[in-house]
């Protein structure tokens, strides 16, 4: 399948600071690519390079076969972009602002804008300066989607949205994928990316340390589990269960880490009296640890 987003040796240095180093990336059509990474990993740098707001120190970026540095406006025509820190003219109403941006794109369908606003429960008649952070973010989401672009580049799109609206946003992304659009989004939140992405790339200190399908990532994911038994924990049994690590007892409780599926653990626990089971989702750092552990 043709790559919609392609970078080769893409590098960005800010003076002495490394933003992104030698990135070779391909995102195929109809894919949701989730870009994960801790603060300062280079996610925003990558996204801003892809829309030509930054110029690469080395290497190149292509969107739909168009070299971004060579013809940024042709790329802009085909891209919906949401910056990581979205700001809009505070003196305009949502409607005025979106009409202005729509005009710059040669006009957008008013019905599309209205439908998006309705789905996100956004009041377009209010001045943007008077909107809450989350509602302003919705304006940003609408402007990125409103011209039905074949490519969407979204930097931390759910920041500031309440859980209900986060879910609605993920629905928007699924809908866009169903229409065969290509989406690259960045996030800190693994579960959010898991919920919607097909492929996840993990950036760290300007390098893409892994690119993987969500299934593979999940299979490798670590989960911390706290078990409370009605008796002494069966430590020998737990220790012998595949995938269990970092096992430690604490009275009638056992703390452990499971790599990948919990099926074996649940089967092993069947004969015992488990009074309580608390599972913590692996955070990003733990995913990295899993990745590095595997690399040895």
């Amino acid at each position: 399948m043709a790559a919609v987003i392609r970078t080769s040796g893409l590098t960005k240095n800010y003076g002495g600071t490394v933003g992104l180093t030698g990135l070779d990336l391909e995102v195929t059509a109809g894919t949701v690519f989730g870009c994960l990474g801790p603060n300062g990993a280079g996610k925003t740098t990558l996204l801003r390079l892809l829309v030509g707001l930054l110029h690469p120190s080395q290497g190149r970026a292509e969107v739909l076969g168009i070299d971004v540095a060579h013809d940024p406006d042709e790329v802009h025509r085909r891209v919906g972009y949401l910056p990581g820190d979205f700001r809009a003219y505070p003196d305009l109403t949502g409607e005025e602002y979106l009409r202005f941006l729509g005009d710059l794109r040669g006009g957008v369908d008013a019905a599309t804008v209205e439908e998006l606003a309705e789905r996100l429960k956004l009041d377009l008649s209010r001045r943007i300066g008077a909107l809450s952070h989350g509602n302003r973010q919705k304006v940003g989401i609408v402007q990125a989607f409103m011209h039905d672009p074949p490519v969407l580049i979204l930097d931390e799109p759910t920041s500031g949205l309440d859980p209900l609206m986060q879910r609605e946003f993920l629905e928007l992304v699924r809908g866009a994928r169903a229409d065969d659009r290509t989406i690259l989004l960045s996030s800190h939140i693994l579960t959010e990316v898991e919920a919607v992405a097909d492929v996840v790339g993990i950036l760290r200190q300007g390098r893409m340390v892994t690119v993987d399908s969500v299934e593979d990532l999940k299979a490798r994911a670590l989960r911390r589990i706290d078990l409370t038994f009605g008796h002494e924990p069966p430590m020998a049994v737990l220790a012998a269960t595949p995938g269990v690590r970092e096992l430690r007892a604490d009275g009638r409780r056992a703390h452990l880490v499971v790599v990948g599926s919990t099926a074996d653990l649940v089967a092993a626990l069947a004969p015992y009296r488990v009074e309580d089971l608390v599972s913590h989702d692996a955070d990003l750092e733990e995913i990295f640890l899993a990745h590095y552990a595997e690399e040895g």
Binding site: R48, L53, L54, H55, H76, R77, D85, F100
Partner: protein
């Protein structure tokens, strides 16, 4: 061709033009109201008391006419200063200011090219200054008629054009520096420094013989040396327009090739 950024630039200036226009109108009418009593003073033989270079610089002889009075009191420093302040403040805001506020990012990621963005904003700024200037022209003409200053409309118009040119030139400089660097404070500082240097050169050139040959480099000299409220259109006007255009043209490649700063 649709010019949405130009139209927005105009719309954003509506309130400012009204406010600044009111200030300009008040100033001109105030000065015009003073004119009858000043004329009486200058009828007396007061002029001879001033050294000759000062007479030249402030055109004291001309103070005996309505046009000369307005030139000396308004068109030589206060009005140019106001037009420059308006142009520089707006010009720095249009790109660097919006960029530092973070609102330009999404506008740039549209099919509109950065060149087009810069040109539409430059044109919008110039149009705003022309709007302010229209207020100036109208009050000057009306004031002249009401107070009987005997300033021909054509002469008032030349003076008004001088204000537009000096305002646009400095405003575009601030716009260009902002576009080239993305830094609003730097844009204001650079354009203000040029304005102060230009005025200093204009004044010192009139007083110091050795500096006189350099005086034409000053935008002030080019704009106001002939009056500016007068019957002649100085060639300096063309020079002002050309340098203003050159500054914007020079900013285009710098703006297109650089990274946009984040808020």
């Amino acid at each position: 061709m649709s010019v949405h950024v130009y139209r927005k630039t105009l719309r954003d200036q509506r309130r400012a033009v009204v406010g600044w226009g009111a200030a300009v109108a008040l100033l001109v009418l105030l000065m015009a109201a003073l004119w009858p009593s000043v004329r009486d003073i200058f009828d007396a033989d007061l002029l001879a008391a001033y050294p000759e270079p000062f007479q030249r610089l402030f055109d004291l002889e001309a103070m005996a006419t309505g046009a000369g009075f307005l030139n000396a009191e308004l068109f030589s420093i206060i009005l140019p200063g106001m037009f420059i302040a308006y142009g520089v403040g707006r010009g720095a805001r249009l790109i660097a200011g919006e960029e530092q506020d973070g609102v330009l990012e999404v506008v740039v990621v549209t099919p509109l090219s950065r060149t087009r963005l810069l040109l539409e904003k430059a044109t919008g700024l110039a149009t705003g200054i022309v709007g302010l200037d229209a207020v100036l022209l109208v009050v000057t003409v009306v004031g002249s008629i009401v107070i009987d200053m005997a300033i021909p409309i054509g002469h008032a118009a030349v003076g008004a054009v001088a204000m537009v040119l000096i305002g646009v030139q400095h405003g575009w400089l601030a716009l260009a520096v902002g576009a080239a660097t993305g830094r609003r404070t730097l844009a204001v500082a650079a354009a203000s420094a040029v304005a102060v240097a230009g005025y200093a050169l204009h004044v010192i050139g009139a007083l110091v013989e050795a500096v006189a040959p350099w005086q034409p480099l000053s935008p002030f000299t080019q704009a106001i040396d002939a009056g500016p409220v007068s019957g002649t259109v100085p060639v300096g006007f063309a020079w002002l327009a050309i340098t203003a255009l050159m500054v914007v043209a020079a900013a285009i490649p710098l703006f297109t090739r650089r990274d946009l700063v984040t808020a």
